[in-house]
């Protein structure tokens, strides 16, 4: 189905199932431990051996000697694979560094060997006996030191344009009566999902099946094939349940390759899970950024000049953190420029993490806006409203499809009690706590992404949906079932959803908050095909047929849907593809994020007290799972604001605090109260579902809202994330 004109009234608009708060249909499997995750596929793989990954001990250099004798002789060892014995390997399109290093080492903890043994403990013990000698080379590990020499980043694809200019920024900035020129930084962050990267590989002759934990099955299948020199049809990826990804599982990682290589060498199935201390340096992370923002405004608060420059680093061939993208679209202003520069760093591979670019970019931009509002003596909500735009500021002929930004802010301010905020920072006390309120815009774009599915009406009346879409904890199963139930006119419990198998039609996958709307649109398209097949079978004109209550109705005739499958199942297969509505209309999601924070006047400790997000994100397919997505993202935003940082050792070139004791993420006690409100919105420009996404909208802006609340509490501005107590302690009021 080609979607190239705005959606009109369609079966989804009945909203009998779609739009209703619905429990996860796979919930009982998860709560009873019967949803099988990759490392636990004992239901389909008998007697797997265990692989343990050995990570490089240096950041850059070469292996000069590799002694495997002791490891090979250790009890239970079946095979050891290194770059010397792996055979010729390619590199996946979505990988920057090779997944198996050696003799060249590209980053710390790059995999250099997999040790396969009968038990996990034997594999781990033997892995520790692998003796490696290295010749270290000098590497570049310090982004700040490379800031002045970093060239413009490569453009294209998800990177967008490395440099943009509209009007005369420099002239307007110089002429502006009120200006801000400030530099912000965001640290390296880790996805820190609950389930580690894990895979179980099974060879059948020259055909390979990998049970894995991966957000993007088709990308993964292609990259496994390319890396191993196989044809895509020789590779099958299966990933029905995923214990969190946040972008860390968009790509094939070393667990999958090492399981495949280990299984080939051992001649039996092998499973590999990355250990937590290895994950932080072996896999990908959100790169650190340095961001300079310059704003110019008239005295009455109209922005006239907006510049946002960002520096990040990555391995050679890697991409920048696209932190300036949202600044191109969020506020009006005639003169603007953005630039992204990219340094070469020999740290582990930087790549996508929840709202890549947007999240750190908004962390900086929305502090800058708060600072500018203060300079202007304006309320931060009113300042944002004054600079709203209903069109793409770079291309005024291109409107937003929907932009309820102002309503998000107004309704948020009203519900949060924003009027009670003291404009003067550092002026509210509650016992030993200094209390403040802050807010920020939430803003994340919708990405159209083609997505296919197959839908089958079984003899018993069940509707079975198959697509390689994944559910990374987001609720894909449920919204896909809702979509099929709505379109086919059956109750939810008659729909069975099968996901995450490369044998199924290729979906959009899970990422970039594009999963929900695109995958359900693909399922909708396939359902329409199935409706045609049903109508034809029943001798009903398809355009007259009404699918409802488990029946197909046309005129006076009403037939049980199951009748159509009496002679055998009927199948509809199709996908959604998009025309140029995304070019004609900027399709985005908006939020107002509001935070109350308290700062211990003595210790400087920061604790969030309450949070509110008011979101406008198109039709909300399942308010229950959508809310879960947003509160999870808000929680991650608090982590980004207050604690999450992978500490870089700029001498040895690695992330030092590489476990969950050292890399702190929020715990329940850090998140006392969260509220989420979805504004009524349908966006017919996006898709037949008229939905957008929420999973990343929920994090965009949260960090700044927290930082702004902390500033409002203390009067001390911190521009270097995370905002930890040591960064404002010496500027807090002296003690009595």
């Amino acid at each position: 189905m080609k979607f190239d004109t705005p959606a009109t009234t369609n079966p989804i608009d009945r909203l009998r199932v779609v739009g209703k708060a619905t429990d996860r249909i796979e919930g009982p499997l998860k709560t009873t431990g019967t949803a099988h995750y990759a490392y636990e596929r004992h239901d389909v793989v008998a007697n797997p051996a265990y692989g343990f990954v050995v990570g490089a001990a240096i950041a850059k250099g070469r292996i000069t000697a590799l002694d495997l004798a002791a490891a090979k002789a250790a009890p239970g060892v079946l095979a050891i694979v290194t770059a010397d014995t792996a055979g010729k390997l390619g590199k996946g399109d979505f990988n920057t560094a090779r997944l198996l290093g050696g003799p060249e080492i590209e980053h710390y903890h790059q995999a250099i060997a997999v040790v396969v043994a009968e038990t996990f403990e034997q594999a781990r013990a033997a892995a520790a006996l692998v003796r490696v000698e290295y010749a270290r080379e000098k590497g570049a590990f310090d982004l700040a030191a490379l800031r002045d020499s970093a060239p413009l980043a490569p453009g294209g694809g998800f990177n967008g344009s490395p440099e943009t200019r509209v009007g005369d920024f420099e002239g307007a900035f110089a002429a502006a009566p009120v200006t801000l020129d400030a530099t912000y930084s965001t640290p390296v962050q880790s996805h820190a999902m609950m389930e580690p990267h894990a895979s179980m590989a099974v060879w059948d002759g020259d055909r390979l099946t990998i049970y894995t934990s991966n957000q993007m099955i088709a990308w993964g299948k292609g990259d496994v094939a390319k890396t191993l020199g196989l044809k895509p049809e020789q590779v099958r990826l299966v990933s029905p349940y995923i214990g969190g990804g946040f972008g860390g599982k968009l790509f094939v990682r070393s667990d999958a390759l090492m399981a495949a290589l280990g299984a080939r060498a051992a001649g039996r199935p092998v499973k590999v899970a990355l250990t937590r201390p290895l994950m932080f340096n072996n896999t990908t992370h959100r790169p650190a950024t340095i961001q300079r923002i310059r704003l110019g405004a008239t005295k009455d608060g109209k922005l006239t000049a907006i510049a946002h420059e960002s520096w990040s680093g990555n391995l050679p061939g890697g991409d920048p953190e696209t932190a300036v993208g949202q600044t191109r679209l969020l506020y009006a202003g005639a003169n603007r420029m953005t630039a992204m520069r990219l340094a070469v760093l020999d740290l582990p591979e930087g790549n996508a993490m929840r709202a890549p670019g947007e999240a750190p970019g908004m962390m900086a931009l929305e502090i800058a806006i708060d600072e500018m509002a203060e300079k202007l003596g304006m309320d931060p909500v009113e300042f944002r409203i004054r600079n709203d735009t209903q069109v793409d500021p770079e291309k005024p002929e291109r409107p937003f499809s929907q932009r309820q930004f102002i309503r998000c802010l107004r309704e948020g301010a009203e519900r949060f009690g924003w009027a009670r905020r003291a404009a003067k920072p550092g002026s509210v006390r509650d016992g030993r706590w200094m209390v403040g309120m802050g807010m920020a815009a939430g803003f994340r774009n919708h990405i159209p992404f083609k997505s296919a599915a197959r839908v089958r009406l079984e003899r018993d009346g069940r509707i079975v949906v198959e697509t390689d879409m994944t559910d990374i904890g987001t609720g894909s199963y449920t919204i896909i079932a809702q979509t099929a139930a709505e379109t086919m006119g059956v109750p939810l419990d008659r729909v069975e959803v099968r996901l995450g198998d490369s044998a199924f039609p290729v979906s959009c996958g899970s990422g970039g908050q594009f999963g929900a709307v695109n995958s359900t649109s693909g399922v909708y398209a396939a359902c329409l095909k199935l409706r045609d097949a049903v109508a034809q079978k029943l001798g009903i004109n398809s355009s007259d047929a009404l699918f409802a209550d488990g029946h197909v109705k046309a005129g006076n005739r009403s037939v049980d849907l199951t009748e159509a499958a009496r002679e055998g199942p009927l199948t509809g297969e199709d996908g959604i593809e998009y025309g140029d509505l995304g070019k004609k209309y900027q399709q985005s999601t908006f939020a107002g994020h509001f935070v109350e924070a308290a700062v211990d006047a003595a210790t400087g400790e920061i604790r969030v007290r309450r949070m509110l997000a008011v979101c406008a994100a198109g039709r909300i397919l399942n308010p229950k799972s959508a809310r879960s997505q947003v509160i999870g993202a808000m929680t991650m935003g608090v982590g980004a604001a207050l604690m999450e940082e992978l500490a870089v050792d700029t001498r040895f070139g690695f992330f030092v605090n590489h476990d969950l004791a050292g890399y702190e993420v929020p715990v329940h006690a850090d998140i006392p109260h969260q509220e989420v409100i979805f504004l009524d919105e349908v966006d017919p420009m996006t898709s037949p579902m008229k939905a957008k996404g929420v999973g990343e909208l929920g994090i965009c802006g949260v960090g700044a809202a927290v930082a702004n609340a902390v500033y409002n509490a203390t009067g001390v501005r911190v521009r270097d994330y995370p905002v930890t107590l040591d960064k404002h302690l010496d500027r807090l009021p002296t003690l009595a």
Binding site: V648, F652, H668, D670, L725
Partner: protein, 316 residues
């Protein structure tokens, strides 16, 4: 994890003797720290002697009016004990400020005292660490040192002792009872249990080979307001940046021990004399001779400000 042999001890004396005579032997109780370290081969015992069955899990009154806490009393049980909550609130509060509920259920009193540092370089066997591998150097100095020590540290090691419980016990002047390999018993004032790193950071206590902690004794309760104030980056389940364990009498005097800043619970009795004069006076005595890094110099300010909050709370 290296392969190891395992046996259960039959008595405390037996356990001490066996560890002393068996190469590479270690005690195991709750295992909340040791097993993690074994998995990454920071600890590589050849033999484990399980002491969980020794029955040292009672909390009993002493003739002197104190409490004798068995070495195997779990942190959860110790924190919840009515007498501890009533008479040694500082200890109870310090315990519940530490780790997580699950860990406290397993962790033992003696094991808590003997837990290893949380310096991230200690945990990464690719990095030099004088504590883990004597003579290899200290990667933390000049590296990521924000969570590490500012006083009592040396040019060989800036690791901290991570325990919350030990801070309270230091303020309470607890006594550590042990049995040695030869069967003799002795009592070690807690101040003398942990050593400073100097040039030998791999040596962390004054315990002899095989010497086994059987109990920790608390002297008679000390009057005053018991406060444990732990400062950290998140609200729960985090090691202290700084913690203050204090007992403040009505006259403003009392005791203070500090966590998160040193290789052992940090208490300077001379500083306690300054308590009536306020946090600044106390802190300047407590922290005299501190050698912070650029990343953790904030801890000096933080100690003073936390002390100030604690003294204010005691006055309130």
């Amino acid at each position: 994890m290296r392969p190891f042999t395992y046996e259960r001890a039959t008595s405390a004396g037996d356990a001490a003797a066996r560890v002393a005579r068996t190469p590479g032997a270690k005690f195991i109780a709750g295992g909340t720290n040791l097993l993690d370290l074994m998995k990454i081969e920071v600890e590589t015992p050849a033999h484990l002697i399980d002491v969980n069955g020794l029955g040292l899990d009672r909390i009993e009154p002493t003739a002197e009016g104190g409490l004798r806490i068995g070495a195997l009393v779990r942190n959860t049980d110790l924190a919840a004990d009515k007498r501890v909550r009533r008479d040694y609130a500082l200890l109870s509060r310090a315990l519940v400020a530490g780790a997580s509920g699950q860990l406290r259920n397993k962790a033992t009193t003696a094991g808590n005292l003997l837990q290893r540092t949380r310096c991230p370089y200690f945990y990464d066997t690719n990095q030099p660490c004088n504590k883990r591998q004597p003579g290899s150097g200290c990667a933390a100095i000049g590296g990521y040192s924000r969570p590490l020590g500012v006083i009592g540290v040396s040019e060989a090691c800036i690791a901290t002792h991570p325990s919350d419980m030990a801070i309270a016990m230091r303020a309470l002047d607890a006594l550590v009872e042990t049995v040695r390999a030869d069967g003799s018993i002795r009592t070690i004032p807690i101040v003398d249990l942990h050593t400073l790193p100097g040039t030998t950071p791999h040596i962390e206590t004054t315990l002899g080979k095989g010497e086994f902690i059987t109990a920790v004794t608390l002297p008679r309760p000390i009057d005053g307001t018991h406060i444990y104030h732990k400062v950290r980056d998140r609200a729960s389940y985090a090691f202290a940046l700084v913690s203050v364990g204090a007992i403040v009498r009505k006259d403003g005097g009392g005791r203070i021990a500090i966590g998160g800043i040193a290789p052992k619970p940090w208490r300077v009795e001379a500083a306690e004399a300054e308590m009536p004069r306020g946090a600044k006076a106390v802190a300047s005595r407590l922290l005299a001779g501190a050698t912070p890094t650029r990343e953790n110099a904030f801890k000096l300010t933080l100690v003073e400000r936390t002390l100030d909050a604690v003294l204010a709370q005691a006055r309130a």
